[in-house]
């Protein structure tokens, strides 16, 4: 059936069964490959996206339930990588293999939008369901603190200081 999804500000219509998880609609129908499949049972967090600003496991969200909602994926957080969380991730070079990192970044961005200055314990609670098999946890935690500082020093409207132009980056 025809399903309309508003993803990263653009409404697109796809013809899929209503029970298809949002993850597979994003990846295989809308060609947004940044959101990752890790477990399919909401146990790893690699598929985390924002649905109306809330960190959501797209592998367990039928597209029928995502209709009409504002969906943000890693590709829409800031295409230039200028969201405070992405800036901090870059500064600390968080990833190793990088596979879980879209989910980690989306979870961290949702945490900071609710809790601008999280404690270590609050980070542990918010991020504990996002697995990193390479175990980049120490840098993830440090980068969330750093992102909180970046946000605090340059408050912006919108989804988290994403739109400040930065210097062009060769990489």
């Amino acid at each position: 059936m025809a399903i309309s999804l508003k993803v990263n500000g653009t409404v697109r219509t796809i013809d899929v069964p209503p029970e298809m998880p949002l993850l597979w609609a994003l990846r295989d129908e809308l060609d947004l490959k940044g959101t990752k499949y890790g477990c399919g049972v909401s146990r790893c967090g690699a598929c985390t996206v924002h649905v109306n600003g809330v960190a959501t496991r797209s592998c367990q969200t039928p597209v029928s339930r995502a209709q009409g909602a504002d969906i943000t994926t890693i590709e829409g957080l800031s295409p230039d990588g200028l969201h405070a969380v992405q800036k901090a991730w870059k500064e600390l070079d968080v990833p190793q293999c990088g596979y879980c990192q879209a989910g980690q970044i989306m979870a961290a961005a949702a945490l900071l939008s609710k809790t601008p200055k999280p404690t270590d314990a609050e980070i542990d609670t918010a991020m504990n369901t996002n697995l990193c098999r390479c175990a980049t946890y120490l840098r993830i935690k440090a980068a969330i603190h750093r992102a909180a500082d970046i946000k605090a020093s340059a408050p912006m409207t919108g989804t988290g200081g994403a739109n400040k132009p930065g210097s062009p980056d060769p990489r």
């Binding site: 298809m20 490959k33 990752k36 870059k90 990088g98 369901t129 697995l131 990193c132 175990a135 980049t136």
Partner: protein
């Protein structure tokens, strides 16, 4: 100084220099064609020479360096080009890095495993960079009519200070392409004191792509007209399809193909199963739910973890089947020892569980199978695909794609054989993607094992006897993959009376290398038991280890190499007790070992381990509540991997990652078998360590005069025994079984 890296110089490679269309320089290093013919059958004469060259410099000054090895998160795509850029004196900030494809005519050692990339490529990559630099300098010398020796290079520019002339590499590249190619064997290299890039913290080359969600992993590969595939195998390894309702599956929405694959008998190759192909992977999974298969499960359907444990207990009281090493007279020494300690150590099968499940995209067209693979051994994958399809290796093209973790799982190429078969059968481009359940239930597991130790110390606390009866898996004199024990395992050569003995039972479960293979398991058993001997000796556990390292016996004469054996990778190097003492003493100092009074329930444990040419000593501080809840407070790791830490940024990541990976194994990882099949299928029943459990990991380096070696693995093994030794220090409870989730840690 002769090092294992220097001994690699004998590679018969030569450089090929070409002008680029439109101007510029291209430099490729070719393996000796004869050897390439030996290895892959023939040279691909039609190969595009602009692909897979190591260095390209275009007139606009852009320097492009090819990264030749599989990137699985270890940072190799950043590190190998750094080695070239260092000697080239390129401006690293503007260097472009491209992933190379599999090309055995130009590259060697295109694999990710065994922490071998650094020792294998440290010198050859630098030579390529030095050769390119020499040609650019030569071009400038010719242009300015000055001796090359008067020229300097920095950040992509050649300078002649005396005449205040400068020229960019871009402006020289076309002329440089006409210069003779230097001899790689004699090209001078920088004195390490002159390094500008090696030894500096550099970020992941692909960082921006990763944090903005670019499609860069195997699972993201898209080919025009591509279909999606699932391959359903028998839960019992090697089982075959008797019947399957493939006609009904074919009729389901979105499904284009469904068919039975007969498969072979080797667990490392293509096994029997049912392929389902469709327009969308999720639709394929829906069809899969309706699949009805009757399996011929084969002879191993009765295997179980309970059966393995019962058989091990039975074997442990029988005379060992084999002797692996015997020094002195262990039984006599035990009879005369002041104290004798006996203990049994058990560790489980575990799964690699890389977060990106196995996948491979393949397109079989006009007799050629083109593949996009995350394999850690793409050359092995090509060979397996060729033999599976009955084609020649040069009819298989392998594009190397970034992997979402490897940990040794992608050393096996079963998913490549499956993708290739399905692509050939359907004639369309196919992306095969395993479900998480497929991935966890069809792994090449780290095998479990059982060690029955006996040790003796004399009245002075010196270890006089050490025996291990290792009960493992295999047949006759052959151990299952990664289920072996080497005759050089420590404390061999450090205890005068020592015996390593083994007994094996048959195994119908595929096993294989997992990050620090063998070592990740043996470290726990051996260095947990060594801690028990320290207690029996009444000595400080860290000083006891230093004393043990000081009791080295003379080395036996080296075994002659088999006649005609080809050199393959870096030579194994012996264990150097002085290097290990160095890291042990340093970890004592940085951790404050023995300097802090810790409350009951908190303790420090130590262990060291030598693997993959790397020396690591680690201290764990852990706290156990009276209710038995464990918290790892902190880990200190000291490593000696030689004279240079090429990229300290990624080196720190690898050590922290390996340490936490080891803790994760110790805490809760276990795969059990029943009815011949794995009982765990996903992260709900197979628990990986999560953020809340991750302790701070302080990383220190001890730089020594030796050639640089790898760091993907050697930091892992010592943390597991260091943890269980810390638990003993905290509680008095000796842990002889992992995972800890099965161990009662309560104390009063």
């Amino acid at each position: 100084m002769t090092t294992q890296t220097e001994s690699q110089v004998t590679r018969r490679d030569f450089l090929r220099v070409s002008a680029l269309v439109g101007g510029g320089l291209m430099l490729a290093s070719y393996a000796d064609p004869l050897e390439a013919v030996e290895r892959i059958g023939a040279l691909n004469a039609a190969a595009d020479p602009t692909l897979n060259a190591y260095v390209r410099i275009t007139p606009d000054g852009i320097v492009t360096i090819i990264a030749q090895n599989p990137e699985i998160g270890q940072g190799i795509k950043t590190m190998l080009p750094m080695l070239i850029a260092e000697e080239l004196d390129a401006d690293w900030a503007t260097v472009r890095v491209e992933q190379g494809d599999l090309d055995s005519t130009k590259f060697r050692g295109q694999s990710a495993g065994g922490s071998t990339a650094t020792p294998t490529h440290y010198m050859p990559m630098r030579r390529v960079g030095a050769a390119a630099r020499a040609m650019l300098v030569g071009a400038a010398a010719k242009q300015w009519n000055v001796p090359a020796s008067e020229l300097e290079t920095d950040k992509g520019v050649v300078h002649h200070r005396a005449s205040k002339r400068s020229a960019t590499y871009g402006s020289l590249a076309t002329a440089a392409a006409t210069m003779p190619a230097p001899d790689l064997a004699t090209i001078p290299l920088k004195d390490p004191k002159q390094f500008k890039l090696i030894g500096t913290k550099q970020k992941t080359y692909d960082l921006k792509g990763i944090i903005t969600g670019k499609p860069m992993f195997g699972i993201d590969v898209t080919v025009p007209g591509m279909k999606y595939a699932s391959f359903v195998k028998c839960p019992v390894y090697g089982g075959k399809v008797k019947t399957a309702n493939v006609e009904a599956i074919k009729a389901m929405p979105g499904i284009t193909h469904a068919f039975v694959v007969p498969g072979g008998t080797a667990l490392t190759g293509l096994l029997g199963g049912v392929a389902i192909v469709g327009n969308n992977w999720w639709l394929v999974q829906q069809a899969r739910k309706k699949l009805i298969v009757t399996w011929d499960e084969g002879a191993t359907a009765s295997q179980s973890s309970a059966g393995f444990a019962a058989k091990a207990a039975e074997l442990s009281i029988l005379p060992p089947q084999r002797s692996l090493r015997k020094d002195g007279d262990p039984d006599a020494a035990l009879a005369n020892a002041a104290k004798v300690v006996k203990a049994a150590y058990v560790y489980p099968f575990i799964s690699h569980a890389p977060l990106e499940p196995q996948n491979c995209t393949a397109h079989f067209k006009d007799g050629v199978c083109e593949m996009w693979s995350t394999s850690q051994t793409p050359e092995g994958g090509r060979g397996l695909v060729a033999s599976t399809l009955g084609i020649k290796p040069e009819q298989v093209i392998v594009h190397m794609v970034r992997a979402g973790g490897g940990f040794g799982r992608r050393l096996s190429n079963d998913y490549m054989a499956e993708a290739a078969w399905i692509a050939k059968e359907t004639g369309v481009p196919v992306k095969l993607l395993w479900s998480r359940e497929d991935d966890m239930q069809h792994d090449f597991y780290r095998p479990g094992g059982f060690h029955y130790f006996t040790g003796g110390v004399d009245a002075n606390g010196k270890v006089v006897a050490f025996k291990d009866h290792f009960v493992s898996f295999g047949e006759g004199e052959r151990f299952a993959s990664s289920a072996d024990l080497g005759a050089t395992e420590f404390p061999a050569r450090y205890v005068p009376n020592l015996a390593f003995e083994s007994s094996v039972m048959p195994l119908g479960v595929p096993t294989g290398a997992l990050r620090a293979p063998r070592s990740n398991a043996l470290s726990f058993a051996f260095h947990g038991f060594i801690d028990e001997l320290a207690v029996a000796a009444g000595k400080d556990p860290l000083q006891f280890r230093i004393d043990l390292l000081n009791s080295e016996m003379p080395a036996p004469p080296p075994a002659p190499a088999p006649a005609g054996a080809p050199p393959r990778g870096p030579q194994p190097v012996g264990f150097d007790s002085a290097r290990m003492r160095g890291v042990l003493e340093q970890v004592r100092d940085v951790s404050g070992w023995g300097k802090t009074a810790l409350p009951k329930g908190t303790g420090m444990g130590v262990a060291f381990y030598f693997s993959h040419r790397g020396y690591f000593a680690e201290v764990v501080q852990a706290t156990v509540s009276k209710a038995g809840v464990l918290k790892v407070d902190k880990v200190w790791a000291v490593g000696d991997v030689g004279s240079e830490i090429i990229n300290p940024n990624h080196a720190e990541q690898q050590v922290q990652g390996a340490v936490i990976d080891g803790l994760s194994q110790a805490l809760a990882q276990e795969v059990t078998f029943a009815g011949g099949a794995a009982e765990q299928a996903n992260f709900n029943t197979y628990q990986l360590l999560r953020m809340r459990q991750a302790p701070p990991v302080e990383v220190h380096w001890r730089k020594t005069e030796f050639a640089p070696t790898g760091i993907g693995e050697p930091a892992l093994p010592p943390v597991i025994p260091a943890l269980v030794n810390a638990i003993y220090a905290a509680t008095g409870k000796r842990v002889r079984q992992i995972p800890l989730s099965k161990v009662d840690l309560r104390w009063t």
